[in-house]
Subunit: 205 residues, 2 copies
DNA sequence: ACGATAAACGAAAGCCTTTCGCTTAAGTCT
DNA sequence: AGACTTAAGCGAAAGGCTTTCGTTTATCGT
């Protein structure tokens, strides 16, 4: 086939189809992506530079889909909570995408905007100098860790019947996997916020 | 070649070689693993079930290599700090392994032992019921997040020159990548501990 | 009118994991 | 001692994967 009258491929369609594949199968490949859109593998290279760019585009897409509102009236804590929740919500809708993104540099504009807002909220809170990036890294680790938890197998820990009594009883106490994840995230967010408050109190201003 | 007098492959040698490859290249493959040991790819299947088992064996190996001492005298906070540090140290020695493990259920005995100790320390601290697993998940998210940070590209965020002033200046303030990671981990650990303390104070006992 | 660009295609190179059948040494049982 | 089972190597091949390259042809700008 020669050049079609109307392009068969668009970046939007590419990203949507790739996201569908990841949601369904936990991964995507160019052959499957091409088959889903109904084109050949190699045609895709006319629109993106390769697999990595598609991944980065997916990151931007899911972050854009999960917006948060920053309100001038808001205190920094409310802002931080809103940002972290929105980040985590983005991955909650597409849990299996998180593992595919951990090794890539963040370049997407939308996503950088989220980190910029994070930095602003932290400065408003009273963090200075190197602490700002340390706090960003901490929040990022936390949010990424919980995002990955959403993608983890239902059974994260599989102790044998004998030998790990405390861990086993903690697991027995927990409800179904999604409830456990939800409860853990809420718990973790409280820990994080309390920790940040405490740090601000104890640091010489 | 028929069956050799002395086996050419042992699980220990397999894991060591695989770990070397991951340290060097960030990944390992059976062809490369086989070449390094000096056998053919398919022979490896006589010793392990496949790629996944090798990954799980590597997890056990690095956790075993990074021990911590739990001392009856110790308070729970010291115990938690020791466990989290040891976990993070394990991945600091083999940063590029972390991303390969995020999707796998933990089955290794040594690693389960670490989580058992974590559960014990949390109960000693005064957490009960579902909170134990929530706290484990929170600590796990932190530790995993920071482990992944060690494997991340030197440039985690790449904002363009214009448009993200607060993030850019936070990045400019930071030193080299490894110092940033180290400072962030220490910062995060304080936040985590302070948060847990705060939670214990405010929860009805 | 014409040249450049864009967007499709097929073919192929060079990775990867895993399975299969074949060979032969070592160990075990009678 | 002879025979059977197992363990551990091998090569070949199936069927994935990403990416590059050359070819074709429609559209657009000058």
């Amino acid at each position: 086939m020669a050049r079609p009258l109307v392009p068969l491929i668009s970046i939007d369609a590419l990203v949507s189809a790739a996201l569908e594949l990841v949601d369904e199968a936990g991964d995507f490949s160019l052959p499957k992506l091409a088959k889903r859109i109904g084109v050949s593998q190699s045609s895709i290279y006319n629109h993106v530079s390769g697999r990595e760019e598609i991944l980065e585009l997916m990151r931007g897409r899911i972050i854009s889909e999960s917006t948060y509102e920053l309100d001038v009236q808001q205190d920094w804590e409310a802002a931080l909570r809103a940002i972290v929740r929105s980040y985590r919500d983005a991955f909650a809708r597409h849990p299996r995408l998180a593992p595919l993104l951990v090794l890539q540099t963040v370049q997407d504009h939308q996503v950088l905007g989220l980190y910029e807002d994070l930095a602003l909220a932290l400065e408003a809170a009273g963090f200075h100098g190197r602490d700002v990036l340390s706090a960003i890294s901490t929040i990022d680790s936390f949010a990424l860790g919980f995002a990955l938890d959403l993608a983890a197998p239902d059974v994260v820990w599989a102790p044998p019947q004998q030998g790990f009594p405390t861990l086993s009883s903690a697991l027995a106490n927990a409800g179904p996997a999604d409830e456990r994840g939800e409860a853990a995230f809420e718990f973790g967010l409280e820990i994080l916020m309390a920790g940040l408050h405490s740090r601000l109190r104890t640091t010489v201003q």
